[in-house]
């Protein structure tokens, strides 16, 4: 009761209000603060590598930290190869699924599919990695005749699977945002349902679909655990045509695998953080590109 009389008296300062406001403000600023701290820490630990080791070495083709060789190029190319392949797999699957869920599936099927896709997003990556090791890797080895099943391609399949829920949900939202009148206009011109979808609805949702792919890409390139489990982790240059079906090592897997056994403050330690910086720059570029496509609202002529 005392509380009520206290706060209803306007001559007293409203301490409850003040406390809540300050707490929220503190929490908000602290989360921003953490991001800044992480960034600062990453720079402090990683930047030295760029002068401790000559650029020739750092951007060389051999990553043998025990011999003082810190060539990050195979790792960068490894990450790119796995990620790009993953997106090439996930993009058609994801967009097709989104089109099916939003445009084709009857209501009851949509009600089942949407929660299932959301559950897919919640599967821990280590579980997917395990699935990749025990099921996908043997398949890759036997079907493709690769010497080992732990290849870039195996990683790409698992990553594609992980990026799918993101791509599907975002692409589906984009399709949903296309006004019904577009569909009417397509149909009224004698287009079949498929022609209307592929020539009118999907192009109208193009910017949202690009965003979906960007977000999926961002998720895929930063993924560590599943990739480490299924790609074989050999830091070789993926330059030959069969590289996709050979082991590969990504930037994330390198950091995760080696960070545990490195001496703090050593060149190797700085090199791992240096990889972190490179990764950060790449994901930043991807996210910024996605943000630009989101905020650059296309003019939908005449429609509000």
């Amino acid at each position: 009761m005392g509380k009520f009389t206290f706060s209803s008296n306007p001559s007293h300062p409203r301490w409850g209000e003040f406390a809540i406001e300050s707490t929220i403000r503190l929490l908000a600023f602290s989360s921003i603060g953490f991001v800044i701290l992480i960034f600062f820490f990453l720079i402090r630990e990683g930047l030295p590598i760029f002068w401790e080791v000559s650029p020739d070495n750092l951007f060389g083709t051999r990553w043998y930290p025990n011999f003082g060789l810190f060539g990050t190029v195979p790792l960068i190319l490894g990450s790119l190869l796995v990620t790009v392949t993953a997106i090439l797999i996930a993009l058609p699957l994801g967009v097709a699924t989104a089109v099916f869920v939003r445009e084709v599936a009857p209501n009851w099927a949509r009600e089942i599919l949407k929660p299932m896709i959301e559950i897919l997003a919640g599967i821990p990556s280590v579980v997917l990695g395990f699935f990749g090791m025990t099921i996908v890797a043997p398949l890759v080895r036997e079907v493709l005749g690769a010497p080992t099943g732990l290849t870039a391609f195996t990683g790409a399949i698992i990553l594609a699977y992980m990026a799918l829920p993101t791509i599907i949900s975002v692409a589906e939202d984009a399709l949903d945002a296309v006004p019904k009148s577009y569909r009417d206009a397509g149909l009224a011109m004698g287009a079949t349902q498929w022609q209307t979808i592929w020539r009118v609805v999907v192009p109208a949702a193009r910017s949202g679909i690009v965003t979906a792919v960007m977000l999926g890409l961002g998720r895929a390139i930063g993924e560590t655990m599943a990739v480490m489990m299924v790609t074989g982790n050999a830091a070789r240059m993926p330059l030959t045509l069969d590289s996709l079906f050979r082991p590969i090592r990504t930037m994330t897997a390198t950091i995760a695998a080696e960070m545990g056994e490195v001496a703090q403050g050593s060149v190797h330690y700085h090199a791992l953080f240096g990889i972190g910086i490179i990764l950060f720059v790449i994901t930043f570029i991807i996210n910024a590109t996605a943000a630009v496509t989101i905020f650059k609202k296309p003019r939908r002529g005449g429609l509000r």
């Binding site: 577009y182 009417d184 009224a188 011109m189 004698g190 109208a204 296309p298 002529g301």
Partner: protein
């Protein structure tokens, strides 16, 4: 003259709610027929029955027959995309599709399988001229359609429908979003077009109905109250309700 479109005792329901009640109406060829009346009278539904666009709406029911050139368009086996090429439609909001002016116009013909470039160019110019838009956009054919003004976009949509060389043109409040000058241009274009096409229009005002109507049909709550040549209906309506509406006593 044989009617182009005939409604024979057509009733239409969204769930349990009736939108049209026992409508029997003949629409003559090569003339502008105006479908007008207060909101919720079933005008748009009537239009969307002619090109079967309401097939896309779930939970609807229809009785009666709709004939185009004497053929029931709701019998099984009717090629619906082909029907929609014969019956073009223009909507209330100008709705350019993604892409350029040229792509918008040639969308329909390309779907229909026209590939010959000379033929496509011919269709492009002819449709834009018919919609009274050619002179304004002939130098901007490869600009995005969304960059045209509202009035130009609406005439673009008319041209897009004409590019498929339809027999019937349905217009659902085509000038509701336009200023008076653009409205005038669209109405002028319609007066030219009616010599070649059967035009059915839901106007956005009684004044527009009176301006463009060769024939006028007054709808009230899903019922066809009366249908007469426009000149007669707007001067000497037979039904009291029509008179009340056109003189502004209700509506």
């Amino acid at each position: 003259m044989e009617p182009k479109i005939r409604f024979q005792n057509v009733s239409y329901f969204y769930g349990d709610r009736p939108a049209l009640r026992g409508v029997t109406l003949d629409i003559p060829p090569n003339a502008i027929t105006v479908i007008f009346g207060p909101a919720g009278g079933g005008k748009t539904t009537l239009l969307r029955l002619i090109n079967r666009l309401n097939d896309e709406v779930e939970g609807t029911r229809m009785t009666g027959r709709v004939l185009l050139d004497g053929q029931d368009i709701y019998t099984p086996g009717v090629d619906v995309p082909l029907l929609r090429r014969r019956v073009g439609m223009v909507f209330a909001l100008p709705l350019p599709l993604p892409g350029t002016v040229r792509e918008n116009i040639l969308y329909g013909p390309k779907l229909a399988g026209v590939r010959d470039q000379a033929r496509l160019d011919e269709i492009l110019e002819r449709s834009l001229r018919l919609a009274a838009l050619w002179d304004e956009v002939k130098d901007r054919l490869d600009d995005p359609a969304s960059r045209l003004s509202g009035g130009q976009q609406q005439r673009l949509c008319i041209a897009r429908s004409l590019a498929m060389e339809p027999e019937v043109l349905l217009l659902d409040e085509p000038t509701s979003g336009l200023d008076p000058i653009s409205t005038g241009k669209v109405e002028e274009a319609l007066q030219e077009l009616k010599h070649q096409y059967t035009i059915v229009i839901v106007p956005h005002s009684v004044q527009q109905a009176a301006r463009v109507a060769d024939y006028a049909a007054f709808f009230l709550m899903g019922e066809l109250v009366e249908c007469q040549p426009g000149r007669d209906l707007f001067t000497t309506p037979r039904d009291r309700r029509t008179e009340d509406y056109i003189t502004g006593r209700f509506g």
